[in-house]
């Protein structure tokens, strides 16, 4: 069989063998001891020609109910939003997607400038002073923030709200176990926000960080200023995991006292793609800049005084500091940061506000519509952004199966993470949902719960 990614002809091989003074490729592998040489062919999936390959993967793709075949109301940390068509065209430029980390700045100015612009946009959205070039996702970014805070304050205890995304808390717990940091979780109130009295009781002088989400996992909007006060009183850093789309209408966390803002840029131009690749972001204060994990791009000048960009503050990083590095992160999510940058550019100053406002208005309309639907109850009365919680008279799993049959991807089953919230569904309504789709959801839900 011939392979289109392997250009070696028989003549090429002959010439190379001759230059090497060998008769077969096998002679280049004599350094591998016989007992570890693999004696047979790998038993893996078979190769497909390009035509069959397309057929095979198309068939697999077609097995999946998706946002083009179904109307989607699922969010819970990954959201279906408007993606301007320009985004994909720019991402598919091979100069971007086939490059690696910009180690050689003279031939990487494009990527470096794009990251510098990304860092600026993250700072603008979050109201923070500095940002890095990206993290793996919102969950790992938040966990790294907690570890950074524990290290900086020298207090190996962090307090996290139970209203933070359960997977963010799971990843935090895994990181914390590695670094012997204690994680304390505090509950939420009937209003669906962090229980401030419980929080105040849990935040001690030995607490390095307080972590909340904004909006939180239930879609409710936390009172950041009040939480900041609780954290600051005990000398803990305040970490806010934030949905960047919401920041088009919500006050920036930086204005409300956040020391570190983390989250995922996925809502800005990145397909949900079964959960990844997305794009963690990380922003903090100038004071904490040198403690930040990840790659950072800085502006400088070349020998002729011309503006240029370089990777900077590398003395924090694993390839220089090895076991003393601030993090082990090396590869990040640069291409997705570019997607987010292009999207924030396309939306621009006006578009991010308009899009955020549409999410707010449509989710509010949906909340009212479902509140008025027989058999459903909207719980938690805090202000929400584009997600809210509905109590059903039936298991969410069963309702979602019925919705799927009606061409709808239903909301998230909160009972999976919160036993006390069995039969509670978290519903996301973005700018992409029409009034007609929302009305249909209400009708279908009414019929399903009545049946």
């Amino acid at each position: 069989m011939r392979y289109r990614y392997l250009p070696q002809t028989d003549q090429d091989k002959r010439e190379m063998f001759e230059a090497l003074g060998i008769n077969s490729i096998e002679e280049l592998f004599t350094d591998i001891p016989k007992e570890v040489r693999f004696p047979r062919e790998l038993n893996i999936s078979e190769a497909l020609n390009e035509v069959d390959h397309v057929r095979y993967f198309s068939a697999l793709s077609n097995k999946n109910a998706n946002f083009t075949t179904h109307v989607n109301f699922l969010g819970a940390g990954a959201y279906q939003h408007y993606i301007p068509s320009t985004v994909n065209h720019m991402l598919l430029r091979g100069e971007f997607f086939t490059a690696y980390t910009p180690y050689q700045p003279e031939i990487s100015q494009g990527e470096l400038q794009a990251i510098f612009e990304f860092q600026t946009m993250v700072c603008e959205m979050t109201g923070m002073e500095v940002a890095n070039s990206s993290m793996y996702d919102g969950a790992t970014s938040t966990a790294e923030a907690a570890m950074m805070a524990a290290g900086h304050t020298n207090k190996a205890r962090v307090v996290v709200s139970g209203a933070v995304h359960p997977e963010y808390r799971d990843v935090l717990t895994t990181y914390a176990a590695g670094q012997s940091v204690e994680v304390v979780t505090v509950g939420y109130t009937q209003a669906g926000v962090t229980d401030l009295a419980a929080l105040e009781a849990s935040v001690t002088d030995g607490t390095g960080a307080v972590i909340v989400q904004y909006p939180n996992f239930f879609g409710s909007i936390e009172d950041l200023a009040a939480i900041k006060k609780i954290a600051a009183d005990k000398g803990a850093l305040f970490i806010v995991a934030s949905n960047p789309v919401a920041l088009g209408v919500l006050e920036a966390p930086g204005k409300l006292g956040a020391d570190i803002v983390t989250g995922d840029m996925q809502p800005f131009g990145i397909p949900v793609s079964f959960g990844g690749p997305h794009c963690g972001y990380f922003a903090t204060t100038s004071k904490l800049m040198r403690k930040m994990p990840g790659r950072i791009v800085g502006q400088t000048k070349d020998e002729e005084g011309k503006r240029g960009f370089v990777l900077t503050l590398q003395a924090r990083e694993q390839h220089i500091r090895r076991e003393k590095a601030t993090s082990n992160i090396c590869s990040n999510q640069a291409l997705l940061a570019l997607a987010a940058s292009v999207t924030m550019t396309a939306l621009g100053k006006q578009g991010v506000q308009e899009m955020a406002m549409m999410n707010l208005q449509k989710a509010h309309y949906a909340k009212q519509a479902l509140a008025n639907t027989a058999g459903l109850e909207v719980v938690f009365n805090s202000p929400t952004f584009n997600e809210f919680v509905v109590k059903l008279p039936k298991p969410v799993k069963d309702v979602n199966t019925a919705l799927l049959n009606a061409g709808i991807i239903g909301g998230y089953d909160l009972g999976l993470d919160y036993p006390e919230l069995a039969n509670h569904m978290l519903i996301a309504v973005t700018e992409l949902r029409t009034k007609a789709e929302i009305d249909t959801l209400a009708q279908e839900l009414e019929a399903i719960v009545r049946a």
Binding site: N43, E46, F97, I107, F116, V310, Q318, S331
Partner: protein, 487 residues
């Protein structure tokens, strides 16, 4: 002289847009009735306001100021800068993959779960492991995941005192960094004069506190650790486990398997060996394979198959180290890797490694005529040269790298591994033609001549790029990390 490129913010004019959202089709409610005043944003974010054509020209111009594999040769050692197949990008954009949610019911995403399951199986076979998690987002995340499992394994056996991770001095920087964030301590051992792990140093380093040995094989010098079986025996007899850093797996596909060498844990860099792509720094994907003894500790969930052939997410893992990333890992990269495997098959993957090794040896042999070759033996998929001869002529390896830019090449990895002075680490990959290798070799030989005859040409390079050498010291001393509008 090349022009300075404007920032997108500097192109902004109030009133321009590059988006078009639908009209609001629900009754509009006053925002102050939905949000308390103190939570409503006071000052809008200063994002650019440009037209769609301006946007396209801006990012197109940025792309023209960037070098990728699509532009030309990119022999960046340890990074496996091979061709990134276009069909992988197509597949990743099919609606049934790009526009599905990780929390959809399992029965509605059987195609995606099948991709993950098959990839788990194929990677287990390729590495000689018993099970695989696809969750880690990159190589470093895979290392940390593997070390957390090793730690959990020792703790489960009442050996929490096993906290030392032995790492050769030629190892990637992520190895010791990952050990630290897994709560373990690094012991660095030297390499011998053949560039391999010093067996006696290893023997002296292991003991009742040994958690693991972390090893790249072939190592970062591109040399196969020939004593691997004995090394595995030494570590195992001491009660430790072996961790395989898969950054260099492009040399061994179908030729040798970490599992057969004695390794207990392995991560693969799908963005390297399995055509990722690299994306300007990411996304990666760092699946981790383990031997049976470590299966209970794998991150939850993993994809499993029922007797009826359907797939599901198995979250029932009581001894798991927990979750290491949100959702299902970097699914889009996993999908691309599986697409690549389905293009190459078993025969194709073995040829990948054979040709990667052939290309590397050919280049090494020809370049050794002008550059010092510190380890004059057969190499695997990459090799290192030293610029010490050129240094005597007043030219540093950094200068040679910058001179290569003038010829349209991305330079090799430089000054790594740390144990070779003035190091150049070259990995051609299998997807390059002999003509490309010959042209690059000719340029390297020309640069070697320049170092003798006209060293200033090399010392002052690059001459043709959009910017000249940049002042990195000032960038770090007085960091400017964002644009601020001048008022």
């Amino acid at each position: 002289m090349h022009k300075e490129k404007e920032l997108i913010f500097e192109m902004s004019r109030p009133g321009r847009v590059a988006y078009n959202l639908p009209e609001l089709d629900v009754p509009e409610v006053d925002v102050t009735s939905l949000l308390p005043q103190h939570l409503i944003r006071e000052t809008p974010a200063e994002l650019p306001e440009v037209s769609e054509l301006q946007l396209v020209r801006h990012y197109t111009e940025l792309s023209r100021r960037n070098h990728g594999v699509d532009n030309g040769f990119y022999p960046l050692g340890s990074c496996t800068m091979k061709y990134n197949p276009k069909i992988n990008e197509d597949v990743a954009r099919y609606a049934g993959f790009a526009h599905i949610h990780p929390y959809q019911p399992d029965e509605s995403v059987q195609g995606a779960l099948e991709v993950m399951y098959n990839l788990q199986q194929d990677l287990a076979e390729i590495t000689g492991m018993d099970a695989v998690t696809l969750q880690p987002a990159a190589g470093a995340a895979g290392e940390w995941t593997g070390l957390m499992m090793i730690r959990a394994y020792h703790e489960s056996r009442g050996e929490a005192n096993r906290t030392k991770v032995i790492v050769p001095n030629s190892a990637h920087g992520t190895n010791p960094a990952s050990a630290t964030i897994a709560g373990l301590e690094t012991i660095t051992i030297p390499s011998n004069d053949r560039g391999l792990v010093d067996i006696e140093a290893l023997r002296a380093a292991v003991g009742p506190d040994t958690a693991a040995l972390m090893l790249t094989n072939p190592n970062t010098l591109g040399l196969f650790e020939e004593d691997i079986v004995e090394m595995a025996q030494i570590v195992h007899e001491a009660g430790g486990l072996l961790y395989y850093d898969g950054a260099n797996a492009n040399a061994i596909l179908g030729i040798a398997r970490p599992g057969d060498m004695g390794f207990d844990v392995v991560h693969l860099n799908l963005h390297k060996t399995f055509t990722g792509p690299h994306g300007g720094g990411g996304p990666g994907a760092g699946p981790v394979g383990v031997k049976e003894i470590l299966i209970p500790f794998l991150p939850a969930p993993i994809v499993a198959q029922r007797e009826d052939g359907s797939y599901y997410m198995d979250s029932e893992r009581p001894q798991t180290i927990g979750r290491v990333k949100g959702f299902n890992g970097n699914f889009g990269i996993l999908l691309r890797a599986y697409s690549y495997i389905r293009t190459m098959g078993a025969d194709g993957l073995r040829k990948v490694s054979e040709y990667a090794v052939l290309n590397a040896n050919y280049m090494m042999r020809r370049l050794a005529t002008a550059y010092h070759l510190p380890y004059d033996v057969v190499c695997k998929h990459e090799f290192v040269l030293s610029g010490i001869r050129q240094k005597k002529q007043g030219v540093r390896t950094l200068d040679i790298a910058k001179r290569l830019l003038d010829f349209g090449y991305h330079p090799p990895t430089i000054y790594f591994p740390l144990i070779v002075e003035e190091c150049l680490m070259i990995e051609p990959t299998e997807t390059e033609t002999k003509e490309t290798l010959d042209e690059f070799i000719d340029v390297m030989l020309q640069i070697a001549r320049e170092c003798e005859e006209t060293p200033e040409i090399v010392q002052e390079a690059p001459h043709t790029t959009v910017v000249k050498r940049l002042d990195e010291a000032t960038a770090a001393r007085k960091p400017i990390l964002r644009y601020t509008k001048e008022v």
